[in-house]
């Protein structure tokens, strides 16, 4: 790839990194990353991936920007209220970096459309807020051997892991979504806005490492942080042979839309 003068300048702080260099930057610019959910996690992820020059960024979200989103979903601004999140995010990405080709899907991801959408991407970022979709993303990525980053946040805590083919998946850790009655209520457990920033930025970093091919990804381990005490802890694990999707005797052989917790439907 021949960089333009402007690109050499724009990406100079990447290019001078010994482990990135022009080859790494080229890998980023040839990369295709899909962000599922353009909310608390997807916003910072989209910003950093766009700034880094990721060639194609896919954005999928069926929601519109709501006032309660703006406390943490930093890609959306007050004038974007009631605008589709994918459109709002696309506009910011294009302003930040015209090199990026942004593809938007203004819809919910389902068992019907997920494979068709994710198959064209190199790496998937799970920035969703609900468990049925988290498990759907996991299963689809395991089925078609697509690397993805899981992210979850709650109050002052966050957790993230990366799946790559052959390594532990999200279902190795969590068998399936929590039962409906275990989800206390959607009266908002709450989230400190900047927690989403920490997590989404880690997810973007995993995507960039994967595209460049450097370092150790968060595979076979969960990074868990507690921001109140500012403790970061890593729990190691192995592929779970009892895993219903990637274990020795898988029981899940096709994609399912897990039942949505009732309180999340409104």
């Amino acid at each position: 790839m021949d960089f333009s003068e402007e690109q050499i300048e724009r990406y100079s702080r990447h290019i001078i990194l010994a482990d990135v260099g022009p080859e790494g930057q080229e890998a980023i610019m040839n990369g295709k990353v899909l962000i599922i959910g353009v909310g608390g996690l997807g916003s910072p992820a989209a910003f950093y991936l766009a700034a880094a020059g990721v060639g194609t960024i896919g954005l999928i979200d069926g929601d519109i920007v709501d006032l309660t989103n703006l406390q943490r979903q930093i890609i959306h601004t007050t004038p974007d209220l009631n605008k589709a999140k994918v459109i709002s995010a696309k506009e910011k990405i294009e302003k930040l970096n015209p090199d990026v080709n942004t593809i938007v899907y203004q819809k919910l991801i389902t068992s019907e459309n997920i494979i068709e959408i994710i198959k064209d991407y190199d790496f998937v970022i799970d920035g969703t807020d609900n468990f049925p979709t988290k498990f759907l993303i996991n299963d689809a990525c395991v089925f078609i051997q697509k690397p993805f980053s899981h992210g979850g946040i709650l109050r002052f805590d966050g957790q993230t892991m990366t799946y790559t083919p052959g390594n532990a998946c999200y279902r190795c850790v969590f068998n399936g979504p929590p039962p409906k009655d275990a989800v206390p209520s959607c009266s908002q457990a709450g989230i400190l806005g900047s927690i989403a920033g920490i997590l989404g930025t880690i997810q973007a970093t995993e995507a960039l490492k994967y595209l460049i091919g450097i370092g150790d990804l968060l595979t076979n381990r969960m990074l868990i942080f507690d921001a109140l005490n500012m403790n970061f802890n890593t729990v190691k694990f192995k592929r779970n042979m009892d895993c219903p999707v990637c274990g020795d005797k898988p029981t899940i052989k096709e994609l399912i839309d897990e039942e949505q917790a009732a309180c999340d439907l409104n």
Binding site: G37, G152, N175, P178, P184, F237
Partner: protein
């Protein structure tokens, strides 16, 4: 006995304790919201009552975390 829970030393007054009891000692009320690993092996929920944690064992609790809409315990 001494064990490790999520990387931290923990003193337990007994010489062995079931996973279930250890969860309640650690004030985890919703066992359906937690995954438990004993010495880097996941324990099935149906075995929480019978699997015993012993001296020097390492236990990890992993909780569900969504996107800020769900809660992982009744605290």
């Amino acid at each position: 006995m001494k064990i490790k829970v999520n990387g931290k030393d923990q003193e337990v007054k007994k010489t062995s304790i079931s996973v279930y009891e250890l969860l309640s000692e650690n004030k985890v009320q919703r066992i359906d919201m937690v995954s438990v690993q004993l010495n880097e092996k996941f324990i099935r929920k149906e075995d929480f009552q019978t699997v015993l944690v012993k001296e020097n064992d390492e236990v990890d609790f992993l909780f569900f975390m969504g996107g800020g809409k769900y809660s992982n315990s009744d605290e």
